[in-house]
Symmetry: C2
Subunit: 198 residues, 2 copies
């Protein structure tokens, strides 16, 4: 590091900038049902979920890279907001908003770290590597667990159907590990029969 | 794994149990000053801080172990609550409360993972390894950054003096990396002169 104090100040500015993630509300209720969670809380939970489910990652997966991706995966929402995966209107403009946010936020960092973090985020978004596909699977799985636990509360509020849940999640989760999808699928069918899906 | 579905169910129960961390309020304001943060948000922020400050860790530090520790370091607060480091009364009973919480929470997991996570948490608490000392330094540093940014708001509300801040943090931060303390110290002296500390 040419100037460790200057580089440290830039890194701290980045941490301040992404603190806004604590105010980005997701359409997922806490397991207690008390309120919606925010994207910072979700980022902690899904990163810890990756650490906890490391044994379910495909062989040769670098679980630490998965965790690094998940710590950073939502920071663009500081500028771009959260888009529910079932909201096609919001998702139509999501990519442009998130690209602009990534450009702004990562450039706060020293150049080499900006490139490293941006590469991790791009890799997560592309969903091509084993690590990105496992991260994506966990990111899709965890809000389903919240919905199943709260009798489909956020699904019902957002008029989400079983078919939408299958269309948006089955491929992403089962390609990472069929065991994960096999765990979820019967619970989803039961949820539908209980009226927890629209 | 003898029974991957049973083990998966236990891991998911653990994730549900630690979700309560999202309702544990800390005595640290968001950088925006809007409200106190909670321990889940803090756990994300300090884990991301470790990823961002990896270059400041002592040589041979396993930064991924630091991140694993920080993801888990506060989960005992689900049962034991958060204790402000300047609150000697709360800290007198903290260890017993946290030991009971650790026993309950980690035992939700399959045995081998329960031992692994418990070992990570014990190592963090002992502050003997390089990884634990770096994790502890970041855990102490980040609320100081929040206070400096919000003109000492939580320090003043909790009647914290400059001497308390020095006593509780200087050793833990400077032993991990003097550069980190050298960055903070002049800001603390300035904060005192501006009336941001009691």
């Amino acid at each position: 590091m040419a100037d460790p104090t200057q580089a440290l100040a830039q890194r701290i500015e980045f941490i301040k900038a992404i603190d806004g993630l604590k105010n980005v509300q997701r359409k997922t209720y806490l397991f207690s049902g008390q309120r919606y969670e925010n994207s910072a809380e979700h980022s902690w939970a899904v990163s810890t979920f990756a650490l906890t489910l490391a044994d379910y990652a495909p062989p040769k997966t670098d679980i630490n890279k998965v965790i690094h991706m998940l710590l950073l995966h939502d920071i663009v929402e500081v500028d771009a907001g959260d888009s529910l995966c079932y909201d096609d209107e919001a998702n139509a403009t999501k990519a442009d908003r998130e690209q602009a946010a990534a450009q702004r936020l990562f450039s706060i960092l020293p150049d080499s770290q900006a490139r490293h973090f941006r590469q991790l985020w791009d890799e997560f978004e592309a969903e091509e590597s084993t690590e990105a596909q496992f991260a994506a699977a966990l990111d899709r799985m965890i809000p389903m667990l919240h919905n199943l636990h709260t009798h489909g509360r956020a699904w019902l509020e957002n008029h989400v159907t079983l078919q939408q849940v299958l269309d948006k999640n089955q491929h992403k989760i089962s390609r990472a590990n069929p065991t994960l999808w096999n765990y979820l699928e019967p619970q989803l069918l039961k949820a539908k029969s209980l009226g927890w899906l629209a």
